[in-house]
Amino acid sequence: MPMIGKPIDRTDGRLKVTGAARYAAEFRLPGVVHGVLVQSTIAAGSIAGFDLSEAEAMPGVLTIITPDNAGKLQHPEHVQQTVPGPLLQNKDILFNGQHIAVVIAGTLEQAEAAAAAVRVRYFNAEAATSMDALLSQAYPPKHFRNGARPPDSSRGDPDGTFNSGAVKLDLTYITPIEHHNAMEPHATLAAWNGDKLTVWTATQGISGAQATLAGQFGIDKSDVRIICPYLGGGFGSKGNTWPPATLAALAARTVKRPVKLVLSRAQMYTSNGYRPRTVQKIKLSSDIDGRLISVRHDGFSSMSQPALGEFSEPVALATEMLYACPDLAVTHRLVALNAPLPTYMRAPGEASGVFALESAMDEMAAALKMDPIKFRLQNYAETDPHENKPFASKALRACYEQGAQAFGWDKRSAEPRSMRDGNTLIGWGFATSTYPTNRQPAAVRVRMDRAGNVTVQSGTQDIGTGTYTVMTQVASDALGIPVQRIRFELGDSSLPPAPVSGGSQTVASVGPSVQAACAALIEKIKDMALSGGGWRGQSREALQIRDGLVVGADRRVPIGALVEKSGHPFIEVEVQTKPGEEKQRFSMHAFGAQFAEVRIDQDLGEIRVSRFVGAFDAGRVLNAKTASSQLIGGITYGIGMALLEETLVDGETGRVVNANVAEYLMPVNADIPDIQTIIVPNDDTTSNPLGAKGIGELPMVGVAAAIANAVYHATGVRVRKVPIRIEDILV
């Protein structure tokens, strides 16, 4: 029986339910002191000067680092996951909540108190805070998708053919700033030993953190060790190596003691990125039979000042490939504000962009008086219409069918406001989901000891996604030994390197390397058996490895005995695998169908999601239990996007006014209904040897559109922005 796919309990479950799993801030070092950040209270200008007299005189204060005395840091070019600042290297203020000082004291209480006593004088400049006011000054990103492709793209002549359609729509959708709000605050514990730096930090990418810190401090990568065995959620916010990690290391170097620096929840609203606000203009033109003639998707996303880096929300990439349409154009533009640098947040691009696209598709279906699923099927893309390549695999039709059947879509009455339960309006909405299948090089080491126990190691991360567990399952199948005898280790930059855990790529990147490393170990075991195991001169093919034994025609020998005979404590192999030509030849994507039921009090306008069904083509599933959790979690994230989440910025001061989890609304238990998730079986071994497509982002894509479409179906009111609030539908 293969272990891959089985719903086994998480191998780290026991540690997590007993509180024994150790997160970055929880490692203990002798002599550790505490760093607390001080942040700016204006959005634009510069620092005129500090008055530190009161703070410095407070008990326990060791030092206060400001731009006046901060050690110089380098900016490593071309290192992924690096941001240029703010790192106290100059006195410019580019956004409200920018780091301007670090107070270091013996205890957390002392450091917090002294940080509150730091006085700052500013030269105030006018801040750009309104994206809408500056839309006319939008500019194309310089490094769209890290320079992998241009920000604009088109096929045919969408503007020329637009007017030939029977139904034409020209619509604008808006999505707000959202914050990841991982439950674990960003935390770093930094310790120097001479010129060697060890950093325990909350990161989705230990390799990137290692390269970044080495570059910033001008030391060799091998002199930086990053440790992160557990991560309390990331959702993209812990992908970059943000300044607080660097400032903790700088502080530790300054006071010559280990420094722990943990952000407050409020500081997390300006310290580690956010999903930028988007304004999206969509033009759709269709013939009377529901065939799309022309599509245009122009996306604008809010940005920081360019000195802080660049991030562009790729809202229209899904639009290019999702539907067959001969004439199409997409553009991406940025609007620079006095705001922190935005970043990836769960399903970057797709979450915002598919909200707009799939809302517009629903509007078009309604205008055509056509069933929304039928309208999608009318424009189903059998091949990627933009890149003119076949899909590596696509089971979207099955997602539509199985999702619709589970939801009972055929019982939907098409007319808005036609379904009700007493005073409650009921709405059923639908949207498509899609997310690219990504893969990067990853290296894995496999070790077997004399007892026959196996350790599999890779410098990857488990951000709650189940990496520890599913990689153990992959190794179990590849080696033919039970999961109980396998230990998977990760989260340490001294292990073989693996990519950042983002873009739903961990399984597709690390999984094939685990398979390949285990296969190489088996060959090595056979080598040992043939050379010294008593099978000298026999054929390799006659030997099998199973249940921890080398099995030949005549007898069987425990692998551990071979290891023992070798005289070494263990045998090991290290293998790196990487993507091949498949990306050039195929269009690789995961797909899904999202179905929402909302119930709305027709007098009060209170919106509740009462039922949700998601059907997904996510490729091969490695663990049915952890996969289901990710799907439910993604849909929950989407429900938050649809109805709750929004970071509000004061237009005068550029300050986040709801920088806490009481006023930045996120779904709580009572907000989440029964969620049914369906996996449409589809092993996609074209995309990678394991056949997985990635499952982290896919389930949140389209959720907001499905809910917005359900709200329209319930009320007849079309809301073209999220979150959808009571006041939006009480018209």
């Binding site: 339910v17 509180g19 997160y23 005189a57 209480e109 439950m183 605050p185 309390g232 951000i463 993604g634």
Partner: protein
């Protein structure tokens, strides 16, 4: 804290100004300077803990930073996320809004005190079985809330569990699995 006794916020405001601050009914002669350590005796998971701490220290920070009991998590430090939930004399409380110095003589139970030796508490086992978490950071707080919720008699239905678990945010979105775990553990308890 409506009786005018020392609150964390009050002490912190005062400390930031460099003066010892206490609300009117707290007697100044009993309060050492705010930044001098005080001795606090806590009973945590049945064991006596003698801590030398800054009087401004929250119960959460005393557990995590001083006692080394890091199973209790800091998520927001403002009583809004529930990650720091512990039991104080058998009631669930948010330890971030509780001053450690106010817990003298009280019984505190943390996630570390829930299981005995090798045996998980039924609620912990149910969370593992139903995958009631992903990243695991909110999990100790969820479990401490869940154990208290069952004792409170708030596990009568899924709807009731959802409502009474809504003080514990799970950003990974494990809510349906958390409800399933609590339902199972509650029914096993009868």
């Amino acid at each position: 804290m409506a009786d005018g006794s020392v609150t964390r916020r009050g002490v912190m405001v005062g400390a930031a100004g460099g003066v010892v601050f206490s609300t009117p009914r707290a007697r100044a002669d009993e309060n050492p300077p705010a930044t001098d350590a005080i001795a606090v005796k806590l009973r945590v998971n049945g064991e006596a803990l003698h801590l030398e701490i800054d009087p401004r220290t929250s119960l959460l920070d005393a557990l995590r930073e001083t006692a080394g009991l890091t199973g209790t998590k800091k998520g927001c430090d403002r009583g809004a996320c529930g990650a720091c939930t512990v039991h104080l004399d058998d009631r669930r409380i948010v330890s971030c809004l509780t001053l450690a110095a106010r817990c003298e003589g009280k019984h505190i139970r943390t996630i570390e005190g829930l299981s005995s030796a090798d045996r998980l508490h039924p609620m912990q086992a149910a969370f593992v079985e139903h995958d009631g978490f992903q990243c695991g950071y909110c999990t100790p707080g969820q479990i401490m809330s869940a154990v208290a919720l069952v004792k409170e008699g708030h596990a009568g239905s899924d709807g009731e569990i959802r409502e009474w678990m809504s003080g514990n945010i799970c950003r990974c979105g494990a809510y349906p699995n958390i409800v399933a775990a609590i339902r199972q553990a509650a029914s096993a308890e009868g």
